[in-house]
């Protein structure tokens, strides 16, 4: 009975009317921006970047309008389906192009367009002197459009289009400076890793069609919630979707591309890590929750991957001196938290999204802060060359500081509210697994506090360690204003969203009811105090080690094996290379050799053996047409003969 109710609930999306008919504008405007800038060429150099910002901003305004329109509707009719056109109709396989605006996607729309627009504005200053500025803004707009399609698509196939276009956008932006060879390598790596994940997602979509006969959310979720799919199918779907999510969100074992993606300009990093791209995996799992609800096995794997990645990111984050790399690994780890949350099932879906939104603010803020520092320091990223910057860059210091306080979970800033909740539900899972997950999440919080303190202190405090010919200065207004807005968001967004469980209530019709009060393994107050204690320990560790003792300008080489391993990304890249890349190269070389000498050689030898091909070739050079005519004639004779035989017979 509950299954039936669930089925009817998700199967009814209201048709778009009134202002909701304009949902498509959300993604078409930035797409238009990208098209105009790319096709317009040099003619748009003068005003193109403003146009791109206008498109992003307009999309945000529409997003806000639609959000409030949605809010004005009754709680159970907030899922609006906008049918656009019939996309791929082949008999039983009918896919429509359509958009679904509901509580979940509207929240993402606000995050993507809001933070996205701020990053656009920031880039105005950051990319002011770059000769490729027009192209940069075009790609930014394309990125927004792709991500909006990803979250707004009303079927898995529409989502997949956005999904891969996000991959394309990141590819273009990571190698934005095409003259840099490492950038091209990093971009390729990102695309390949993403494609591996995409294999999972596309097989999942095929499996949906083979079992449900459709790829649209309502049909698939209806079947999943209605008990029409076997356990094995649900588990298979869950794991395949997870593979896709891992690729896009940089989760273990497909995390390798994310830190390398730092080759792109810093605003791109902010965009990838906060508003778009890496959040897609979390979105996918939350969106496909009826599938994960039906499969404990799939959820368990999600949780395990979340925890492994969470610790993996923290450990490596402690070892790097490159400010962007540290932030990148902190993303890997924070997304791990979100995976952990959504893997816990209905208790955690909303919490995962909650942390995602909070993270969107503080991570964008942190990256823009890092960009501001790099801008001032001639694109240096080595924090050992920074130090004492708080005096010369007060705004950047304060803004980045707020982001720092938010990510380590210092009350009353964002992370405190959202991360605490995840640790809480992990413990609430109960049993050994709950204790293990909770402890890992707790440990991660401590490590996060340590490495973030380390990098923050190395950058802004302590001795000046930069070269005397650098004259760092505060960045211009177009860069600081977005930073300030994001800093305010970092500070308060988490608290606001948690206050009165507003976000959880908003999302409840989509993802189900989140953690119920009252069934706690450990009392929330005790747990909060414990978490704060661990965080304080991490901060103290970072403070004593990097504030009170001098920081060497060159990274020490006499280090523990763990540090060495962490500096080598825990040997994951080496493993990829040894297991896939080298054997792959060997295989292609071998095949090329075999194809030239084996298959082709065999054919040639055969021909030479029979008729002396090479000799004949020489002769045919002069008279080949004749022999061709002869063979045609021969063929005709054969036909005629055969026909005659038949006649006679």
């Amino acid at each position: 009975m509950t299954h039936l109710l669930a089925a009817t609930r998700v199967e009814h999306y209201a048709a778009a009317t009134g202002s909701f008919k304009l949902t498509w504008l959300l993604l078409v405007l930035p797409l238009l921006g990208a098209t105009v800038l790319l096709l317009g060429g040099k003619r748009t150099e003068k005003w193109g970047h403003y146009f791109a910002i206008a498109m992003a901003g307009a999309s945000f305004v529409i997003g806000v309008v639609l959000f409030f329109a949605l809010k004005g509707r009754a709680g159970d009719s907030r899922a609006i389906n906008e049918h656009l056109f019939s996309w791929i109709p082949v008999n039983g396989f009918q896919v429509d192009a359509g958009l679904l605006l509901d509580q979940l996607s509207s929240v993402f729309v606000l995050l993507i367009t809001g933070v996205g627009t701020l990053i656009h504005v920031y880039s105005l200053g950051y990319m002011a002197h770059d000769p490729g500025r027009r192209r940069f803004f075009a790609y930014l707009n394309l990125f927004l459009a792709s991500m909006l399609l990803l979250v707004l698509g009303n079927s898995f196939l529409s989502l997949y289009v956005g999904w891969e276009m996000v991959g394309l956008s990141s590819y273009l932006l990571i190698q934005f400076w095409v003259h840099k060879s490492p950038a091209a390598t990093a971009a390729n790596k990102a695309f390949f890793f993403n494609r591996i994940g995409d294999v999972g997602l596309s097989i999942a979509i095929m499996l949906m069609f083979a079992t449900v006969g459709s790829t649209s959310f309502d049909k698939v979720f209806g079947a999943a919630a209605g008990g029409q799919l076997t356990k094995a199918t649900l588990a298979g779907l869950g794991l395949l979707l997870l593979l896709g999510a891992c690729g896009k969100s940089g989760q273990f074992p497909l995390q390798g591309w994310l830190p390398d993606a730092m080759e792109g300009p810093t605003p791109v990093s902010a965009l990838i890590h906060a508003a778009t791209m890496v959040t897609a995996g979390v979105y996918l799992i939350a969106r496909a929750h009826p599938i994960f609800d039906g499969s404990q096995a799939a959820r368990t794997v999600v949780v395990i991957i979340g925890v492994v990645t969470l610790l993996y990111g923290c450990i490596i984050g402690c070892a790097y001196d490159d400010i962007k790399k540290v932030f990148a690994y902190s993303t890997v780890s924070q997304i791990g938290y979100m995976f952990l949350a959504v893997g816990l099932g209905p208790a955690g879906y909303a919490l995962g999204i909650l942390h995602l939104l909070a993270h969107g603010f503080f991570k964008a803020g942190l990256f823009l802060g890092a960009g501001s520092v790099m801008h001032a320091m001639g694109d240096t990223v080595d924090a050992r060359r920074f130090g004492g910057l708080w005096k010369v860059m007060p705004i950047t210091w304060v803004c980045t500081g707020l982001g720092y306080l938010a990510i380590i979970g210092c009350p009353p800033f964002s992370g405190f509210w959202t991360k605490d909740k995840i640790i809480e539900v992990a413990f609430d899972k109960g049993g050994t697994s709950g204790a293990l997950l909770g402890t890992a999440a707790l440990l991660g919080a401590g490590l996060t506090a340590f490495y973030m303190t380390r990098i923050f202190v190395m950058t802004f405090h302590g001795e000046k360690r930069w070269r005397p010919d650098f004259h760092p200065h505060e960045s211009q207004r177009t860069m600081t204003v977005p930073m300030i807005i994001l800093a305010v968001g970092s500070a308060f967004a988490g608290g606001l969203l948690v206050f009165g469980a507003s976000l959880q209530n908003w999302l409840e019709p989509v993802v189900g009811k989140s953690a119920e009060e009252g069934v706690h393994t450990i009392s929330p107050v005790v747990l909060t105090l414990l978490t704060l204690l661990v965080v304080a320990g991490g901060v103290a560790g970072g403070y004593f080690r990097y504030q009170l003792r001098p920081v060497a300008v060159l990274a020490p080489s006499q280090v523990t094996p763990l540090t060495r391993a962490a500096r080598a990304n825990l040997y994951t890249d080496a493993a990829n290379e040894a297991i896939f890349m080298r054997p792959g190269q060997w295989l292609t070389r071998m095949l090329v050799f075999a194809d030239n000498n084996g298959i082709d050689g065999a054919v040639r030898a055969l021909a030479a053996g029979i008729g002396g091909l090479s000799g004949r070739l020489r002769r045919t050079q002069t008279g080949f047409v004749r022999s061709y005519a002869l063979s045609m004639l021969g063929g005709a004779v054969v036909i005629a003969g055969a026909l005659l035989l038949v006649r006679i017979g």
């Binding site: 289009v161 390729n188 390949f192 097989i203 199918t233 095949l591 090329v592 070739l617 026909l643």
Partner: protein, 566 residues
């Protein structure tokens, strides 16, 4: 309107006419050829508009007795499958003519080859292409199938790269071999038909004719082998990289874009309806070859240094997808496969053109001779990137629609195969992006500095891929070029008609842009809104598969089945 006969005659007459234009006036030959191809394109578009996709059966049908005694007819007509392929050919011919406007000028300067010859051959090729797709008489089909080899042989052999002689003969021998086997099968088919009344080659009559089991399998193999060589499928592919690499760019586009489609077209048009039982029997074999081809072609493409060979090998992988969709025997797979044929022509055609544009600027096929072309020719780089993305089937582009239909259509019947084939999308991203990385990204190359002396011909590390390479390398072709026989396709650093005349390397020219724009435009349009073309293809595929699917039809979603049991 007898559209098909008109479309057959126009390029044939045009070809003759162009061949008769005096050698001294190459420009007139070019213009005439282009004009003829544009008329052909306009008429083809008119025919497509006239085509009624609600009607079943063959349209614009015409039948006249040809050799009455043997039941040979001049019989033409099209269904949706043939229609889109004729449309593809009609589009690609003017594109190729514009793109290779100056390609053979250097050759013609030597006086041994003529411009009019090249343009006349391409028009002759077009007649053959229309004929192959429009034939409804198996014998007529065979005649066009063989006749089309001749112009292509001359295009490769006379206007190709340094090893053109070797490549063209190899192409011809392979095709002739396949053709002869098919001829035997065609005759066999006739023999069988004599047992059911008067003997005939009429496809409409032959279709659905009962054939005894063993004979059906033999005849199937005869047709299949010819098509598998033509397409080509693994392991019958070794002529393709040579032909694709040595053919002039225009020839390569038509070879891979249209001529190879005759093989895949034959699989769905002839093999399945004529031999339904044998098709079912051999389906696992075809599917296995298809999947092996997907991986084999992709891996070899990754390993190539010669850009034209690289693109040829990607086609091998794509033909694997087409064969997979065709022999999955579902309407999704079949429709995807036919759309794939069209898309492959557009996308590989575009990629070949881009590679050709690069070669025109640098004079080598070796990928290592480039690097950093984004810095030198940003527009060409962007265009090549889009062509590459369509080759890796990026969603939003039409290639994705066809590839996904093939995969999903296969999945409903052969899950394991579809899953394995899907891994191929990782490999396709590798060969495309690796090519992009090696040619387009990186620092600005020293040879292309503005105000410099212009590009010198490239001699690679080993020199084996540069045009200047010795043609004798493969041994077989030794003796092709006697002493005093200049290597005609070796580009001079400064040529009269080419883009290299100016000091610095030029970005995409207007002519090049006009040539490639329609291809990329259609790739985007059909990616976003493929419904019009699917509506043409789908009914034809559904009708083709009707007999062989009987009585099962497409597999039914499993969840619905369990739901029904409850």
């Amino acid at each position: 309107m007898p559209w098909l006969t008109i479309l057959l005659i126009i390029p044939a007459v045009g070809s003759l006419f162009v061949a008769l234009i005096p050698k001294t006036n190459p420009h007139l030959a070019k213009q005439t050829a282009l004009f003829v191809s544009l008329v052909e394109l306009a008429l083809t578009i008119a025919m497509i508009i006239d085509f009624d996709n609600k009607k079943t059966g063959y349209q614009f049908f015409q039948r006249y007795d040809w050799i009455k005694a043997f039941g040979v007819h001049y019989e033409v007509g099209v269904d949706g499958i043939a229609l889109v392929l004729i449309g593809l050919a009609a589009l690609l011919v003017p594109v190729v003519l514009i793109a290779s406007w100056n390609e053979v000028d250097d050759l013609a300067m030597t006086g041994r080859r003529s411009v009019r010859g090249y343009f006349s051959l391409i028009l002759a090729l077009q007649t053959g292409m229309v004929g192959v797709f429009a034939s409804l008489d198996v014998f007529l089909f065979y005649v066009f199938f063989e006749a089309i080899l001749i112009p292509m042989y001359f295009i490769i052999g006379s206007y190709g790269g340094p090893q053109r002689a070797y490549a063209s003969v190899k192409f011809l021998l392979y095709s002739l071999f396949g053709g002869l086997i098919m001829l035997a099968a065609v005759i066999g088919l006739f023999v069988v038909s004599t047992k059911h009344g008067s003997g005939t080659f009429d496809f409409v009559t032959l279709r659905g004719m009962p054939i005894s089991d063993g004979v059906e399998k033999l005849l199937f193999l005869g047709f299949f082998l010819a098509f598998a060589i033509k397409a080509p499928l693994f392991p019958f592919h070794t002529w393709l990289p040579d032909a694709g690499a040595e053919a002039p760019i225009g020839g390569a586009v038509l070879l891979v874009g249209v001529l190879d489609k005759i093989g895949t077209f034959g699989l769905i048009r002839y093999c399945i309806p004529l031999f339904p039982d044998a098709s079912r029997y051999f389906a696992p074999l075809v599917l296995a070859l298809a999947v092996v081809g997907i991986f084999y072609g992709a891996l070899l493409a990754i390993g190539q240094r010669d850009m034209k060979r690289l693109v040829s090998y990607t086609s091998l992988a794509h033909f694997g997808f087409i064969a997979l969709g065709t022999y999955a025997l579902t309407t999704q797979g079949g429709t995807g496969a036919v759309l794939y044929m069209v898309n492959h022509g557009l996308s590989t055609g575009a990629l070949f053109l881009c590679v050709g544009f690069l070669i025109a600027r640098r004079g080598t096929r070796d990928v290592d001779g480039y690097r950093g072309m984004f810095q030198v020719t940003p527009k060409l780089g962007g265009v090549m990137l889009i062509a590459g993305l369509s080759a890796l089937s990026l969603p939003g582009l039409s290639t994705f629609v066809s590839e996904f239909l093939v995969l999903v259509g296969t999945f409903t019947r052969y899950r394991a195969l579809a899953i394995v084939a899907t891994v191929g999308i990782v490999l396709s991203s590798i060969y495309v992006l690796y090519l992009i990385q090696r040619t387009l990204t990186g620092p600005r190359p020293a040879w292309a500095t503005v105000g410099g002396e212009g590009p010198a011909p490239f001699h690679g590390d080993e020199g084996d891929l540069a045009y200047a390479a010795a043609p004798a390398e493969l041994g077989v072709a030794a003796g092709v070029h006697g002493p005093g026989d200049p290597d005609l396709s070796m580009p001079e650093p400064v040529t009269p008609g080419g883009v290299r005349r100016r000091g610095a390397v030029r970005d995409l020219s207007l002519r090049e842009a006009i040539a490639i724009a329609p291809l990329l435009g259609l790739i985007v349009v059909f990616g976003v809104y493929p419904k019009p073309i699917l509506d043409i293809i789908r009914p034809a595929v559904t009708a083709t598969l009707q007999d062989i699917q009987h009585p099962a039809g497409d597999p039914v979603p499993t969840a619905v089945l369990t739901g029904a049991h409850k």
